[in-house]
Symmetry: C2
Subunit: 257 residues, 2 copies
C-alpha cells in the first residue's frame, strides 16, 4: 500500500492487460472471486477496480453473466469542418454522414415552454420567456448514437410556418434552412464542450451503460443580426461517436508561444 491504493494498482494492471489484448474484445473476464484469488485481495477490491474501468467504458458488467471487455462499436464520426463549403448542420446536430451508414433522427417537440435560466442566458432572452423545445434522438442505421434537446425563442418563429421543427412544410429541416425560410440568415455557431457521464435515462435511450463517458456540448446558432436563434444541449457518448473539429490556421498572427 506504499504508493498507490490496491484497487488503483489492480485497475491499472487490468487496463494494461486489456490494452495488450490479453483478453479479446467482447471476451469474458475471470469472475470476481477468481480475480480476487489471483491478486490475493478481497472480492470488494476487484469490484472497485472493475467499477472504475466500467466508468471508463473499458469493461462492461452484465448481471448474472460476467464482466466483459467492452466491444468498440464502430463509432460515428461527427465532423465540424471549418475549412471549406461544408455544411455542418442537423437539428441539434452537426454534419453526419461523413462516415457510415444511414443517419436519421426522431424528434418530439414537446411544445412551448418557459426558458430555464441557463437557456435564457444563452439565447439572450429573459428567464421565463417562451421557447419551443424539441428533443431529438439521432440514429445511425437505426441505432441511437447521440441525443440533443433544442430551444428556439418563440418570438422568432411565432406565427410562421416553421415554428415547430417537426411540423409544417419544412418538418425535419435544419435550423439553418428553417430560419432562411423566414428571412434569417444563420452565420455561425458557438459550441461549448464539456466531459461528462450519461445518466440513467440517457443511457437507456442510447442503449449503453449508465455512467458511460460522454461529451456534453452546448451549441448556439447565431443569425446575421447577432441574435441567438437556437441553442441545444447535445449528449455525445464516447462509445458511439467520435468528435472531430477541422480548424484553419491563420498565418502571421501573434502566435506568442
Amino acid at each position: 500500500m506504499s504508493e498507490q491504493p490496491t484497487y488503483l494498482r489492480i485497475a491499472g494492471d487490468l487496463r494494461q492487460r486489456i490494452a495488450d489484448h490479453e483478453w479479446a474484445e467482447g471476451a469474458q473476464l475471470p469472475s470476481r472471486a477468481q480475480l480476487a484469488k489471483d491478486f490475493g485481495v478481497s472480492d470488494a477490491i476487484i469490484r472497485r477496480a472493475q467499477e472504475l474501468l466500467i466508468a471508463e467504458g473499458i469493461l462492461e458488467g452484465r448481471a448474472g453473466s460476467g464482466t466483459y471487455v467492452a466491444e468498440q462499436r464502430k463509432r460515428l464520426r461527427m465532423t465540424r469542418s471549418c475549412l471549406s463549403g461544408r455544411l455542418d448542420e442537423a437539428p441539434g446536430g452537426p454534419d453526419l454522414g461523413a462516415l457510415g451508414g444511414m443517419e436519421t433522427w426522431e424528434s418530439r417537440s414537446d411544445g412551448i415552454v418557459p426558458a430555464p435560466k441557463q437557456v435564457a442566458c444563452r439565447l439572450g432572452i429573459a428567464e421565463g420567456d417562451y421557447c419551443v423545445r424539441t428533443a431529438y434522438e439521432h440514429l445511425s442505421d437505426g441505432k441511437p448514437v447521440y441525443l440533443s434537446t433544442s430551444w428556439e425563442p418563440y418570438e422568432i418563429t411565432s406565427g410562421t410556418l416553421v415554428m415547430m421543427p417537426d411540423g409544417g412544410p419544412l418538418a425535419g429541416a435544419g435550423v439553418v434552412r428553417r430560419m432562411a425560410e423566414i428571412g434569417i440568415t444563420v452565420t455561425h455557431a458557438v459550441e461549448r464542450s464539456e466531459p461528462g457521464q450519461v445518466n440513467a435515462e440517457e443511457a437507456n435511450l442510447l442503449g449503453i451503460q449508465r455512467g458511460a463517458p460522454c461529451t456534453r456540448i452546448e451549441r448556439t446558432f447565431y443569425g446575421d443580426d447577432g441574435r441567438a436563434v437556437e441553442t441545444a444541449d447535445i449528449v455525445v457518448p464516447a462509445t458511439l461517436c467520435e468528435i472531430v473539429y477541422e480548424v484553419p490556421v491563420w498565418q502571421g498572427s501573434d502566435s506568442s508561444d
Copy 2:
C-alpha cells in the same frame, strides 16, 4: 429500492441540493455519519454516493477534514475560432488569453524518441520513426491549467535551428511560426476530442483531484503539402478550462435535417 439503487438516489438528491445552493461553494457537507443518519442508510452508501459526485467534480473530499462543495475556479476559456483572422495557436495549445490573466507555459523536450504506433499513424510516418517529443505544462497566472505532449517528425526539422521547440532562436515559438521559419506553411489542424478522467500523475501536475473529468484532444497540424507536421495529446481538465469552438455556418448546403 423499487426503481433506482439507493446510492444513486442519494447522489441525485445531493446533486440537486448542491445545484439549488443549499450548500455554498466551498462549504463543508455534514459528515458521512450524519448524512447516513439523515438518509437512514449505512455509512458506505453515503460514501458511494459521494464518490460519484467527486468523480463528477461536484464534491471534493479532504482526508481528515470533510467533504466540500468543489469551488468553481474561474476557468480559462480556450477558444478555437474558425471565423476570422484569429490565430489559435500555442505549443500543444490553442488560443489562450481570450479571457483571464497571464498565460505562460513550461516545456521540456525530452529528446528524440521513436514514434509509438498511435502517434506514427497520426503523423503518417512509420512506427519507430524518430520524433522530437516535448511535454508542456500550460499556466495561467502561474497556476497549471492544462497539459500537452507534442511529437514532431524528426525528419522535418532535423538539421534546422527549430528542431527543438524549446531551443534555438525561436525557442518557445509556436509550431506555426517555427515551421514557417523552415519554409513550411501550416494550413490547418484536426482535433479529435474525447471525454476522460485525469490519472494520478496528471492530477498531481494540475493540482486537482485524481479522476477529475477532462477532455483529451488529439490535435494534428498539417502543412500545405498535406503532411502532418506535429501532433499533440492535450489534457484539458473541466474544472480549470472550458473549451469553446466557433464555427461558421455555410448556407445553402444539403442540410438534410
